[in-house]
Symmetry: C2
Subunit: 306 residues, 2 copies
């Protein structure tokens, strides 16, 4: 497979960047990979495990001569990084990102993008609850969606090239408008994460139910929440701060629904509850049929031995 | 292995009953298994797949001569079943259940239990999102907790015998007071289920985000909720109606926390969010260390091929 890009610069070297490195290497999609992370320890590990051909102490050095630059830092840091690298971007290079919100990234990064550089914000809908340079793996993006949000006027060939990279890493690519992206993700990701964080926080907080009981009896349903509530705190802080409107809107709908169910419980309205729960069962079926989760019971979860 | 019980009567033949049948058969824990389900179709399937040596059209017939009777019907139906079978229970038999709430079961069933029958309410903390006689399997209870809530004055030998059955099916057994059980389960199971149902219901309800987008992009976090929101609507309706006080209490704490996080988002209080999310990450670690979930990323979820 001929490389799609000559030199890919990964700025930030966590789960997504390290997975991109593994995937690109596995399929020969990049002739060279350079990288930068803010922490010396991360840079050291990245070099040790061979995520990049060269790791740099600054982002500015890392992007020199790159025809693709991928911002893999928390969304709150992207503006600062964009300001630093802008003068060093090669004409004709593509600048993209993997952040979970898009309007805020466009607002923070867009003003710094020089003439002649293709700015194509992106968002791979893939991840695990782990973090850091050792957490990545080549198959993370397989059969996942990657959303591209090209700004108006972007050269179609540049978009097609970036699309091809994600497709070769195994993803299905869809283009979308930034505002719509942020709303869809508020529903399918951001608010669910906030809800999970809250449920776990409440359990953690209760005095009359001991920590050990909460943990011991977590297989009763609670533990499914704990996985996404173990997600990276920095990344998620930035997601909520930068996708504020859409998150608050979905949260508002959520609390309306929750109070309606609460009232049904208080008043003993079994019919309302039964109808509601029957409706939600169908969504699960739809997800499995769309190939977005396994039909194996309990997620095909690996059973932990006694 | 010598059988622990001579004749086990399973009343209700869904996921739990069918799994108990498979587990007992695999280890020779019951010399005979009889069964009853309300629906003729369920009785037919149970006979077809050999869940019981004999399947009866009435619960009263099924419990004749049984030394262990297990109520595996929805909690809301237990009182009626108890009234029907009470005159037919063999002296010295043990009557137990597998319901997800305990105070309501004791209130509904207790008054019907004849002198000389050991009433030992129980609750195996195990399950999948599937239902019905075909959904069970022998290893469901392995390394899971089973909570026993013996009423005061119950003969210790009867409790020890039931404990041994659950231990042979692979569970860790713990005895607990009924009110405490209902509170602990409100935290670790009931409220999380309600939250999951609500999140999925909200997503289902949104007009500006299409169903197909919610489904397509569900791997972004949402899909973890959909599994438990696919749980049996009848069972869960009864759980909420019968564990009302504890559920409403935990729900109240949940909404307090949620509004605090909502305010932090609205006011841009990143420090509050970061601190909160850091705390919840530790709970996940505790669950894995307690052997209650796999450390494999993404639950070691089976990847669905493209």
């Amino acid at each position: 497979m001929a490389a799609i890009y000559e030199r890919v610069a990964l700025i930030g070297l966590g789960l997504i960047a390290s997975s991109m490195s593994h995937a690109m290497r596995a399929k020969g999609l990049a002739a060279e990979i350079t990288g930068h992370a803010r922490s010396a320890e991360t840079r050291r590990i990245a070099a040790e495990i061979g995520l990049c051909d060269r790791v740099y102490e600054t982002a500015a050095e890392a992007v020199q001569g790159a025809d693709l630059v991928v911002l893999c830092v928390p969304v709150g840091a992207m503006g600062e990084v964009a300001a630093e690298i802008a003068p060093h971007l090669r004409p004709g290079a593509t600048l993209t990102d993997v952040g979970s919100v898009k309007q805020a990234v466009i607002e923070a990064v867009g003003p710094h993008v020089p003439e002649g550089v293709h700015f194509i914000p992106g968002h791979p809908l893939a991840g695990t609850e782990h973090s850091g340079p050792r957490s990545g793996f080549a198959t993370l993006f397989e059969n996942r969606w990657c959303l591209l949000v090209p700004v108006e006027g972007t050269a179609p060939e540049a978009v097609a090239r970036l699309r091809r990279l994600w497709e070769e890493m195994g993803s299905n690519v869809e283009e979308m408008d930034a505002a719509h992206h942020d709303l869809v993700l508020a529903v399918t990701s951001h608010t669910p994460h906030l809800i999970a964080y809250t449920m776990v926080g409440v359990a953690d907080d209760l005095r009359r139910v001991t920590d050990s009981e909460v943990i011991k009896y977590s297989a009763a349903g609670f533990r499914d929440f704990t996985r996404i509530a173990a997600s990276d705190p920095t990344m998620w802080r930035d997601v909520f701060l930068t996708n504020k409107e859409a998150t608050l809107e979905i949260l508002g709908r959520f609390t309306e629904e929750l109070f309606a169910l609460q009232r049904a419980i208080r008043t003993g309205d079994g019919a309302h509850l039964h109808e509601y729960f029957t409706r939600t069962r169908a969504i699960r079926r739809g997800i499995i049929e769309a190939g977005q989760d396994t039909a194996a019971p309990d997620f095909g979860r690996i059973k932990v031995g006694s």
